[in-house]
């Protein structure tokens, strides 16, 4: 990107200008994504709970986040008397910086990255893992027991889930042979069976383990023990109000998008549609190809974020001991087995057998997804003649008589 500016500005300033523009674009992406993700979260939760969600502000309630933002900015920004003021004010910015810096190394398309790093996957993991620091400090500095419990839980949870998450990142990295996310994305060009997800059974399982661990390390439900409102009021952000409170949510949604982008790049073909035989820029020219790449990448991020929301509103929260046991007893051994398995697969399995497994996994998964979509349009099987109950309740007595149903229907 400094090359674009070198015509306009002399040497040190073109680098600075490129940096400022990249940072502004990324900040805009994080901000706009959070804006719509909060709206989507409320809509998704509303639909799952048989409500409408926000409808008043703008069409479909789309401007609800703007109204929330105005409310948050105009709220009083206060700190508890016993709080450690300096740390209390610093903590939200630390959390946000950590989740924002992760985007610096995420390529949004072929070469569309703020700074191409040789070790981008490792860098993103390293930066995202330090988001916990802001949360822990917020918990400590609030001088409130609820906040402290939230911070302690967050520290224990995130430090434990980092281990299986990092091990699952190593699985596709073993297949790719590089930590450079741009190269990993480019290797998966072409049809969808080239995606690392379908490379072998181990990467296939690793994707799901990675996704669950990433959900847990973003402290999203069902792993949101740090802010368990039924036990801890609001956990680490109990004492926060106004704009500082919203920085925590900017950080949370930012890291959701960052881990989704990492998952898309490592497993789901990055910026490739999966339905074009080659790289999009080679087929559609520079502008069309890059626009398609960015749209596909952002679309994949959004799809993964929407699944996180779906999980949040469908599953009950775990207890803290269950959260830790799931990580240490299940995910840690599973990810170690996956790592060893993928190494043995790459070294030992002959190319022919690997191709058969790859096509089997790819077409099997696509068929499964298509069947799921088809089943959504089928008539519900839970229907019964008037006066009888459907499904497992068939034959039980019911107050709904045949005449009553007939009158209603």
């Amino acid at each position: 990107m400094p090359d674009l500016w070198s015509d306009l500005l002399p040497y040190p300033w073109n680098v600075a200008a490129a940096g400022v523009v990249a940072a502004a674009l990324l900040f805009g992406f994080v901000g706009v994504s959070t804006f719509f993700a909060i709206w989507a979260e409320r809509k998704v939760s509303g639909r799952i709970q048989d409500r409408l969600g926000p409808t008043r502000v703008g069409p479909f309630g789309l401007l609800q986040s703007l109204a929330d933002g105005i409310k948050l900015v105009s709220k009083e920004d206060h700190a508890p008397t016993a709080a450690d003021r300096f740390l209390f004010k610093l903590a939200p910015y630390l959390a946000f910086c950590a989740s924002f810096v992760g985007f610096l190394a995420l390529p949004f398309g072929h070469g569309l990255v703020a700074k191409e790093l040789n070790v981008a996957a490792f860098f993103v993991l390293a930066v995202l893992s330090s988001e916990v620091f802001g949360v822990v400090l917020a918990g400590y500095a609030s001088a409130s027991k609820w906040s402290l419990f939230g911070g302690v839980r967050e520290a224990a949870q995130v430090v434990s889930y980092e281990v299986p998450r990092a091990l699952c990142v190593v699985v596709p990295v073993c297949v790719a042979g590089t930590l450079n996310l741009n190269t990993i994305g480019t290797q998966q060009a072409g049809w969808f069976w080239n995606w690392n997800l379908f490379h072998d059974p181990f990467t296939f399982v690793a994707f799901f383990v990675f996704y669950i661990c990433a959900t847990a390390s973003c402290k999203r439900a069902p792993f949101d023990l740090a802010e368990a409102e039924s036990e801890l009021v609001a956990g680490f952000h109990t004492e926060y109000s106004g704009i500082r409170w919203s920085y925590f949510f900017l950080a949370e949604y930012g890291s959701m998008f960052a881990v989704s982008g990492l998952a898309a790049l490592l497993f789901l073909g990055g910026w490739h549609t999966g339905f074009l035989p080659a790289e999009a820029t080679a087929l559609l020219g520079f502008w069309g190809g890059n626009l398609l790449n960015v749209a596909v990448f952002v679309g994949k991020c959004w799809a993964l974020v929407l699944v996180m929301m779906w999980m949040r509103w469908s599953l009950p929260r775990l207890r803290i001991d269950q959260v830790m046991m799931v990580c240490l007893h299940y995910f840690l051994p599973i990810s170690c087995v996956l790592l060893v398995g993928v190494c043995l697969w790459v070294l030992l399995v002959p190319a022919g057998a690997a191709e058969v497994v790859r096509y089997g996994l790819a077409f099997g998964s696509v068929g499964f997804v298509l069947l799921m979509f088809a089943s959504a349009f089928r008539a519900p099987p839970m229907s019964a003649p008037p006066g009888r109950l459907p499904g497992a309740w068939d034959g039980r007595p019911t107050p709904l008589g045949a005449d009553a149903s007939a009158k209603r229907g």
Partner: protein, 191 residues
């Protein structure tokens, strides 16, 4: 002044000031926060030098892992004498003498070693670094990405660093097991 020098001055100043903050702060948690800035500053220096892998490892190991555990431990024990640390004058004297001596030694050594000639190749990436652990001297192996080289075996130096590396890792593992043993729940001996 060139851009790298300006950036180095900026990052080094922030790192040094926050290192002073670690020493001068009274509250243990604030010390940890100053230490956070120091470690991030050192990681930024690694990035400035082009050693991306070392910088990311610094962030992952020290900022994401060790420092979080330090704060975690401090939060659980932040009562009594640890909350407000007061340094005695004798400690100041001993630490000051040692610090000045170490600083003098480092300055002398760094001025005695000439600056390395600038090359086009930056520091080696993780691949050559890992291969040199195995004693492979060839920096760019021609083999496929699976790590099994084609053709004749690559030359190796007689001294590989893999064994010392493994010894250190096993040592760390022993330390971990020992820590878990010391911190275990004490069982009461039945009378």
């Amino acid at each position: 002044m060139s851009l790298p020098v300006v950036l180095f001055a900026l990052v080094a100043t922030v790192t040094a000031v926050s290192a002073l903050g670690v020493v001068l702060a009274r509250n243990v948690v604030r010390m940890a926060v100053w230490l956070l800035f120091t470690l991030v500053g050192v990681a930024l220096l690694y990035f400035l030098l082009g050693a991306e892998f070392v910088g990311a490892a610094q962030l992952l190991v020290y900022v994401g892992g060790t420092l979080v555990l330090v704060v975690f431990g401090v939060m659980l024990t932040a009562q009594g004498p640890l909350r407000e640390l007061r340094t005695r004058p004798a400690d100041w004297a001993v630490a000051g003498v040692l610090g000045v001596a170490l600083f003098g030694l480092l300055v002398t050594v760094s001025f005695r070693i000439a600056a390395p000639p600038p090359t086009d190749n930056p520091l080696p990436g993780p691949g050559p670094l890992g291969l040199s652990f195995l004693g492979v001297t060839e920096a760019n192996p021609t083999g496929p990405v699976t790590g099994v080289p084609d053709g004749p075996p690559t030359p190796r130096t007689p001294v590989a660093y893999l064994l010392p590396f493994e010894v250190v890792s096993v040592h760390l593992l022993v330390v971990l097991v020992g820590a878990a043993y010391l911190a275990r729940a004490k069982r009461r001996v039945r009378a």
